[in-house]
């Protein structure tokens, strides 16, 4: 269940970025996950949902793009592409 440790890292980054907009809520987060991470999307989504309760990220939609193995550095990385804020 390493999805939880990824979810924690994602939430940290997202809250830090969003803190510049104190009135905003986080509507959507888009991430790319490398194949070597063997991340289960449903489990990552569930983990993030659980730990974001009572934060500006509560209820945010998590969009996950699963990338095929290509031998590059992206294979072992989770990349936060963008965060969509709503007022």
């Amino acid at each position: 269940m390493h999805e939880m440790s990824f979810a924690e890292e994602v939430l940290d980054v997202v809250l830090r970025e969003a803190s510049a907009y104190p009135d905003a809520r986080i509507g959507r987060v888009r991430v790319r996950v490398g194949a070597l991470l063997a991340i289960e999307p449903a489990s990552l989504r569930f983990s993030l949902e659980a730990i974001s309760l009572d934060t500006p990220a509560e209820g945010a939609e998590l969009e996950i793009i699963e990338e095929p193995l290509d031998g590059g550095a992206g294979d072992g990385a989770l990349t936060i592409e963008e965060i969509e804020l709503s007022e």
Partner: protein, 217 residues
Amino acid sequence: MSKTIKLEQKVQAKGHELAAELRELFRSKGIFVVNLIGSPGSGKTTLLQAIAPKVRGRAAVIEGDLATDVDKRRIEEAGLRAHQINTVGACHLDAMMVRDALETFSIEGIDLLFIENVGNLVCPASFELGEDIKVAVVSVTEGDDKPAKYPKAMRVASALIVTKADLLPHVRCDIDRMTRDAREQVPDMPVFVTSAEDGQGVDDLLAWILERARARA
């Protein structure tokens, strides 16, 4: 009104950097590292016992289990130096456990290190230990649907090792199906059909591992 923050920020799994350091360390010492992943009882330790006499003096084993040093002692009896990690609760080994093990367990003078992960076909697939390759170990008695059911373990593996082939006459197990399902994840994945009981396939497997080691060096 909505605003989009473009980020492209990479987030690393915990232990990712440590695994990279370990890989560097193993490489600098010329050690090829194989991480064995398979369910409890799939035959990982027995396979290593079968390999042991063929690599005496050049190989060592790190064993991972929740409790006991039973496997370490089995490997030592088979003639290899071994170290036992007890994870207590954890369902997998991680890079920090391996680094800690290396504080007391010497890997000087070897060129091959086997790491037997905690019995589990799920979580160990997600943790890098600085190894060169992971291999997935599945026995004929577990059911031939396992490669299909554990696609992520297959995806990170460099080979599928089918164990206990001597039991094939007694169980319903379709090796072709296992092979097909594994190759669904990794095309051309090498598949070794082995038995520690009668020794079949063990030499081929070891030759392949040593070839991979040579290719890396």
